[in-house]
């Protein structure tokens, strides 16, 4: 009985997934297109220019160690900050449209009275969220790879895939956070706020805060640590780290199921 629920959610998501795919693809295509000119004139974008950036800003962008190599540019312009953030925003939006949104606007009540176990309903919504995000990731992966070939940045498909998989996992993790908080509270605002705080804090800890001993240990609860630390664009899939992200997502999913199962809905 989950089939109709999942396909209905996918239908409901199709506008969001389509437009975010278009947006993220356009973003990546634009930034990668610029790489052509950077490759032509490395002296302009080399260490001298980067040294002009204030230190904290360099940290925030992941160090800006090399902007002129293919992998370095792809990492900085695409996979360091912007694309992960876009994925997280997209995932949070989809998650909010899965439970908390319908609860707030009142459409969830009728669905709850259908002969579907509440736990299965949450799982169906999660599955639709994951599939929607997977669709966005699949298309944007092709764009990232295609543009890399066009500008000839020399990054192997396997490494782009590794980075992209990390972005997908980051999106899924935060989408599941939003879904779990939404399932527990029924409030989109609370769900978005929790994701927002966790994302900003998590990102700061692994960038600006990494050399600051008082907070650097917090990296263990930062999803970005498990995404970026293994340098997937250079080294390929960091299996252990990605498994931690995936495992945490599963735990959150179970939390969402249990939280929703015991709640009064719509009060």
């Amino acid at each position: 009985m989950n089939g109709p629920l999942i396909s209905k959610s996918l239908r409901d998501h199709r506008g969001v997934t389509f437009w975010w795919t278009v947006g993220i693809s356009a973003f990546m295509a634009l930034y990668l297109a610029v790489y052509g000119s950077i490759k032509e004139s490395p002296e302009v974008y080399g260490p001298a220019m980067i040294a002009k950036f204030p230190g904290p800003l360099r940290d925030l962008m992941g160090g800006l160690a090399d902007m002129t190599s293919g992998a370095g540019y792809l990492q900085t312009a695409v996979y360091q900050l912007f694309v992960p953030m876009l994925f997280i925003a997209c995932a949070t939006l989809l998650a909010n449209r899965s439970l908390a949104g319908p609860e707030e606007n009142g459409t969830l009540e009728l669905v709850l009275t259908l002969p579907v176990d509440r736990r299965r309903l949450v799982l169906a919504r999660l599955a639709a969220l994951a599939l929607g995000l997977l669709a966005v990731a699949a298309v944007t992966l092709l764009v990232a790879w295609g543009m890399s070939v066009v500008v000839d940045n020399g990054v192997a498909f396997g490494h782009i895939l590794a980075g992209h998989l990390g972005v997908l996992l980051l999106g899924l993790f935060h989408g599941t956070v939003a879904l779990a908080v939404g399932a527990a509270t029924g409030r989109r605002l609370v769900a978005s706020a929790v994701v927002g705080v966790w994302v900003v804090a998590g990102y700061m800890v692994v960038t600006v805060g990494r050399s600051w001993d008082a907070i650097s240990w917090l990296k263990w609860v930062s999803p970005f640590h498990y995404y970026a630390e293994g340098r997937p664009l250079y080294e390929g899939v960091p299996v252990g780290d990605y498994l931690v992200l995936a495992g945490a997502t599963v735990v959150l999913a179970l939390t969402a199921v249990l939280a929703f199962d015991r709640r009064d809905v719509g009060v």
């Binding site: 009985m1 089939g3 109709p4 009142g106 459409t107 009540e109 259908l114 579907v116």
Partner: protein, 297 residues
């Protein structure tokens, strides 16, 4: 026979706000139960408890012999929410088909015939539907899988008289097929013609459950009789159930409590040329439940 609804001490608090207190009642198979009460009485709270949308603070509720938590129990229920929201860009027909699929399949012929009955246009995107047309979609989805038990929270809200009439006819058909209906309303007049029993809830408490036929029998009605010749007042004085008697020449007016039998027999001794009897105003008796007592604290 197991009761369709069995509630024992059913209580729901929203934080410290009382939604429903200590509801004990049963609804039997095959009856149409009207659930009446003013705004904020606890009707929607009761109904949401019956469908496991919210969970009781204390007390027990069984529906169709099981817990409403079980999907198998909910499969046998049709439900129209009190504030039905249909927000999507999808056409109503697509939404009904989706609900049907989740319910394990509903023939489209049944959806179409219900849509015909209610004169509902299923090709319109749902967010563009008017209030009454939205309500029609809600009714169609509540009835389309031919559930054993139909729960309707203020079903007639927003319906025009023609559709209301069709709706009441549908409720009668459901009862005739031995199935059970619970419907809430603010006014007795809306449910009186189809209900077997009515429950009256106020301030979160069930204050009365009445048989509609009995209520009707208790009802006060005004009667006027016109005779061929003046009649003596003494012939009608002291008749059981006759009150406010006025006799003026050949005309008699009074109110009757319950059965008009004694009055008819007394009148039969004269030549009656004209008789007027107003419909009993159940609403009036009913309202005494609202106004007699202070809402319990």
């Amino acid at each position: 026979m197991t009761a369709v609804v069995q509630a024992e001490g059913l209580t729901k608090y929203y934080g410290s706000r009382r939604g429903l207190a200590d509801l004990t009642m049963e609804i039997q198979p095959g009856e149409v139960f009207g659930y009446l009460g003013p705004n904020g009485a606890g009707k929607t709270t009761t109904i949401r408890l019956l469908l496991d949308v919210i969970r009781p603070t204390s007390g027990l509720v069984r529906v169709l012999g099981g817990s409403p938590r079980e999907p198998a129990v909910r499969a046998r229920i049709g439900y129209l929410p009190g504030d039905l929201v249909l927000e999507s860009r999808d056409r109503a027909l697509d939404y009904l088909r989706f609900l049907g699929r989740v319910r394990g399949g509903v023939p489209s012929s049944r959806i179409e015939s219900l849509a015909d009955r209610f004169d509902a246009d299923l090709s319109v995107p749902m967010r563009k539907l008017s209030k009454g047309n939205r309500q029609k979609i809600g009714l169609i989805q509540a009835f389309m899988h031919e559930p054993e038990f139909v729960i309707l929270d203020e079903p007639t809200m927003g319906l025009d008289p023609l559709v209301q009439h069709e709706f009441l006819a549908l409720v009668r058909e459901v009862r005739a097929s031995g199935r059970t209906v619970l419907m809430s309303s603010h006014v007795l007049a809306e449910v009186e013609s189809v209900s077997d029993r009515v429950g009256i809830v106020r301030g979160g408490r069930l204050v009365a459950v009445e048989n509609v036929a009995a209520l009707r029998e208790k009802a006060v009605r005004r009667v006027e009789l016109h005779f061929a010749a003046p009649v003596p007042r003494a012939d009608f004085e002291g008749l059981p159930g006759v009150r406010d008697l006025r006799v003026e020449g050949a005309a008699l007016a009074c109110t009757i409590d319950g059965r008009p039998d004694a009055l008819i027999k007394a009148a039969a001794r004269h030549t009656v040329v004209h008789l007027v009897s107003a419909e009993p105003d159940l609403e009036e008796i009913f309202l005494t439940y609202y106004s007699d007592e202070e809402p319990p604290r």
